[in-house]
Amino acid sequence: MYKLPYKMIASYLPSLNIFLKEAGEIARFTGRFFTQWFKPRYEIAELLRQCFVIGYRSLPLVGLTAFILGLVLTIQLRPSMEDYGVASQLPAIVGIAIIREIGPVIVALIFAGKIGSSIGAELGSMKVTEQIDAMEVSGTNPFKYLVVTRVLAATLMLPVLVLLGDAVSLYGSWLGVNIRGNTSFYLFWTQVFNSITFSDVLPAFIKSYFFGFAVGVVGCYKGFNSNKGTEGVGRSANSAVVVSSVMIFLIDLLAVQVTDVLGLN
C-alpha cells in the first residue's frame, strides 16, 4: 500500500498559514491602492519620473534577453520542424509562441527581477531609515507619492516593454532562421503577421498590464512593510522578486482560462 507522507504535508502547514496571511495583506494593500489612486493630490511629476526610470532602466536587459530568446528558440525548433517537413513555417510558429506566451512572460519575469527588487529595496530602505515618516510630516501622502506612482508606472510600462521585447525577439528569430536558411526580412515579417491574429495579440497585451501591476504592487508592499534593519531590506527585495514571479505565472494561468472561455484561443 502506498501511504501519504502525512508528516511532510503537516510540516508545510505553518507556511501555508503564513502564505494565506500574506495573500490577505497583499489584497488589502491592493484595495488601498484602488481607493487612493484616483483621488487628488495627483503626483504627476513623480509618475512621469517613475515611468522613465522604470521603463528606461529595464530596456537594455529586456532587449538583450528577448533577442537571445528569439534566436535560440528558432535554432532549437528548426530540427523538429524539418523532421515534419514544415521548416518553412518556422517564422509563423516562433511568432505565435513569442507573441502569445513567451514574450510577455519572460519580459515580465525579467521586469520582476529588475524592477520588483529595486522597488522593494528602495522603499524598504526608505522605511527603515524613517524617510517615509519624514515624507508624511512634510505634507505628503507617502502611499500616493511612492506607491501609487510606482504601481501605475509599472503597469503602464510593462506592456510597452513587452511590445519592444517581442519585436527584438522576432528580429533575433529572423537571424536564427537565416543561419541555415535564406529568408528575406520582408518575407519573414509577412509570414509572422500572416499567422498571427488580433486574438493572439490582444490577450497577451492585456495580461501584460496585469503582470506589471502585480510586480508594482508586490514590490511596494514588500518595501512598505520592511522590517527594521538592513537585513530586512534585503529580504524585502528578495521576496518581492519571488512573490511577483509566482504571481506572474498565476495570472498567466488565469488569463489562459479566461481567453479559453471567451473563445479567443
Partner: protein, 258 residues
C-alpha cells in the same frame, strides 16, 4: 475645590507664558506591550523640555504620537488649538508645517541632493512658493547650520555629523514654532554631539522655538534642557530642572545620573 485649584494654576501659567503643547492621559500599546500609560506633559512657549528614558521606553512612540505618525489608543494631544488625534488630514498638514521633527536616523532622502532634500518640505507644504524664494530659504537654512557648500552633494557623501546638520536645516526651513528632536546626539562622537547641542541652543535663541528633546545623553540633557521629564514605565515618573533631578534620592531617578 479641584476646579478652583486648576483655575488658579492656569492663571499662574498665563502670567508667565502660554501652553503650546498639552498632552493628557496618553495611552499607547502594541498588542500586549503597553508602551505609554497615562502620560501627561505640558510644554510652555520658549521652553526646552528633555524627555529622558531608557532605550525602548517609548520615547520615539511619544513624539510620533505628537506628530500623528502613530495613533494613540486614548488621550488628548492639544497643539495650535486642535486635538491632534481627532483632526482631518488637511488640518493636520497645516499643523505639521509648524512643527519640526528631527528624526533619529535623520531620514534624509538618499535619492535626492541636499538641495532637493531641503526643497521637499517647502514645495510640499507651500504650494505657491516661487523658485526664487525657495533658493533663498534653502541657502539661509544651510548657512544656519554652516554647510552652505554641500548644497549639491548627495547625503551619502556626507559624514554623520554633517547629515545630522542637514536634517536639522531641513527641519528649520519652514521656521517651525515647535521642534521635536528624537535623540539628536545618539550615534555621534562626543565633540560632534556637543556641536549639535550648541546648534540647537543657538536655533532656539534665534527663532524662539519651543523644543521637546528626547534623549538619554546626559551631556545633551544638562546643556539643552530648561526642564527634564523622566519617562519610566510609560508615564511621567519625575520632572524638574536638571539639578533638582540630579540630587533626587529616588533610585529609579538616580540611575540616570550615575
Amino acid at each position: 475645590m479641584p476646579k478652583n485649584f486648576s483655575l488658579n494654576s492656569n492663571n499662574d501659567k498665563a502670567e508667565s507664558s502660554e501652553t503650546v503643547l498639552s498632552i493628557e492621559h496618553l495611552y499607547k500599546s502594541f498588542g500586549a506591550n503597553k508602551v505609554l500609560v497615562d502620560f501627561n506633559l505640558d510644554l510652555v512657549r520658549g521652553e526646552n523640555v528633555v524627555v529622558l528614558g531608557k532605550s525602548g521606553s517609548g520615547k520615539s512612540v511619544l513624539i510620533k504620537c505628537i506628530i500623528s505618525l502613530l495613533n494613540p489608543d486614548s488621550g488628548s494631544i492639544r497643539m495650535f488649538g486642535s486635538n491632534i488625534p481627532d483632526i482631518k488630514n488637511d488640518v493636520l498638514d497645516k499643523i505639521r508645517a509648524k512643527v519640526g521633527f528631527l528624526f533619529q536616523s535623520n531620514a534624509l532622502y538618499d535619492s535626492m541632493t541636499v538641495r532637493e532634500n531641503l526643497e521637499f518640505p517647502l514645495r510640499r507644504h507651500w504650494i505657491s512658493v516661487t523658485q526664487r524664494q525657495v533658493n533663498a530659504m534653502v541657502q539661509e537654512a544651510l548657512e544656519e547650520v554652516g554647510l552652505a557648500h554641500t548644497i549639491d552633494s548627495m547625503p551619502a557623501e556626507l559624514s554623520g555629523g554633517m547629515r545630522k546638520r542637514i536634517a536639522l536645516a531641513r527641519t528649520l526651513i519652514l521656521k517651525p514654532e515647535i521642534i521635536l528632536y528624537d535623540e539628536p546626539t545618539t550615534g555621534l562622537d562626543p565633540i560632534t554631539a556637543k556641536e549639535i547641542i550648541n546648534l540647537m541652543i543657538e536655533i532656539r535663541e534665534r527663532y524662539t522655538t519651543t523644543s521637546l528633546i528626547i534623549s538619554h545623553d546626559m551631556n545633551c540633557v544638562r546643556m539643552a534642557s530648561s526642564r527634564v521629564v523622566m519617562l519610566i514605565d510609560g508615564s511621567c515618573y519625575a520632572s524638574g530642572s536638571f539639578d533638582q533631578l540630579a540630587n533626587n534620592a529616588d533610585p529609579k531617578v538616580k540611575q540616570f545620573f550615575e
